[in-house]
């Protein structure tokens, strides 16, 4: 069965390593924070000016001056730091963030990503996504494999306005895990539990590379 958004978040949490500085985008990526193993130490960066983001506050501990980039009220962990937006993007542009996890509407087999605009329908703005994808060293995408009307979102080329070129390294969808190869193409690494290679082939419009036996992913 395909994963739900919590399943995708659980699988992505395994990519987060001890000592990492991590930026989580809005949506499924935000959920990843809930599944980071407690035996590793990670600093979450929120691009509105916080490094060392903690859990949501308790009801009587809410501070309107402490929010994350999704405008949710948050707390800080020990060792946290607060700074302005220019310093925040200095850390991002200079490549200090070890892992960036973003949502996407479309990803191409070249690693292009579209996640900020649907012409004529939705114009919310790119926020910090363009800065992140242009500079982060390790960008992975959390997304549904298909749109609600069944169209593949892993494409040969993105049809929506791009957020960035050749930047996505790995895709985690509800069906599987995919490396994006430097020469182009989605290399299937893992299947979601109970999902067949055949189903993934059917659901992927972009170039899919399947080599050998594809293991089922392990989700705790």
């Amino acid at each position: 069965m395909a994963l739900d958004k919590y399943g995708i978040a659980k699988r992505i949490a395994q990519e987060v390593k001890d000592g990492y500085y991590v930026n989580l985008g809005i949506g499924i990526p935000t959920l990843v924070a809930n599944y980071i193993p407690s035996n590793i130490q990670v600093m979450l960066q929120s691009e509105n000016g916080l490094l060392g983001m903690g859990a949501f506050p308790s009801k009587d501990n809410v501070d309107p001056d402490m929010i994350n980039a999704g405008k949710q009220t948050v707390t800080t962990i020990d060792g946290a730091a607060l700074f302005n937006s220019a310093d925040s993007f200095a850390m991002i542009r200079s490549g200090k963030i070890d892992l960036t996890i973003l949502g996407a509407m479309e990803v191409s087999e070249q690693g292009d990503i579209a996640n900020w605009k649907i012409p004529g329908k939705m114009v919310k703005g790119m926020g910090g996504a363009m800065d992140l994808v242009a500079s982060a060293r390790n960008i992975i995408v959390a997304m549904q494999h298909n749109s609600k009307d069944g169209q593949s979102k892993l494409l040969k080329a993105c049809s929506l306005p791009l957020t960035g070129l050749h930047c996505v390294k790995k895709v985690f969808s509800d069906l599987g895990v995919f490396d994006i190869l430097p020469e182009g193409g989605f290399k299937l690494l893992e299947r979601a539990p109970g999902v067949s290679v055949e189903e993934i082939i059917q659901a992927t419009e972009g170039k899919l590379i399947v080599e050998g036996i594809i293991p089922e992913m392990i989700i705790n």
Binding site: K59, D65, Q72, T73, L82, A86, S88, P161, L165
Partner: protein, 230 residues
Amino acid sequence: MINKTVQHVDEAIRDIHDGATIMFGGFGLCGIPENCIAAIQKRGTKNLTCISNNAGVDGFGLGLLLATRQIKKMISSYVGENHEFEKQLLSGELDVELIPQGTLAERIRAGGAGIPAFYTPAGYGTEVADGKEVRVFDGKPHLLEHWLRADFSIVKAWKGDTAGNLIFKGTARNFNPMMATAGHVTIAEVEELVPAGELDPNEIHTPGIFVARIFKGDHYEKRIENLTTL
């Protein structure tokens, strides 16, 4: 001694004219100059170009000035969660320039630092790059981006002193310090205003030289956009 204090918000915004370009500090509704926004709405100043990371929400923040159609153009990075904004944008009433958040922050920083332009990789290969000079550094293409400056910058700080020095709190800092440097006239509203000498100079985020006028805001609602608790 230099004293930047004004007694009332109306005095602070007295010369903001129709057609002015104004920077507003804040990220979402966090760290926005609530008192100045309300006073500008009351004053009815029109045809404003507003530079702000977001455009408020319906009925609060810059959403107030959108509702009264006082804003001609918004320069922002993210404008979701605002139906009035979307309506005016789709009907063509409102002009909008969307800029990647880091580029927006750096263009404002550059404006305040006397740096007319710089190169950044953000937006290369996207519609943000349209019409911009591309130059390759270290094997990677970058876009030429220009500074942003404004007739007025309106910022909100936690504490300030009569010399105009500012200290911000939490994530309410965001765009406020850069904007404070990039306004021809910078107006600061603060929660707590103290005599010069009471703030520790080691802890000042924005030196008073950047601030033209400072006043204590009457009231802060500090509305929360997305209340999340355990």
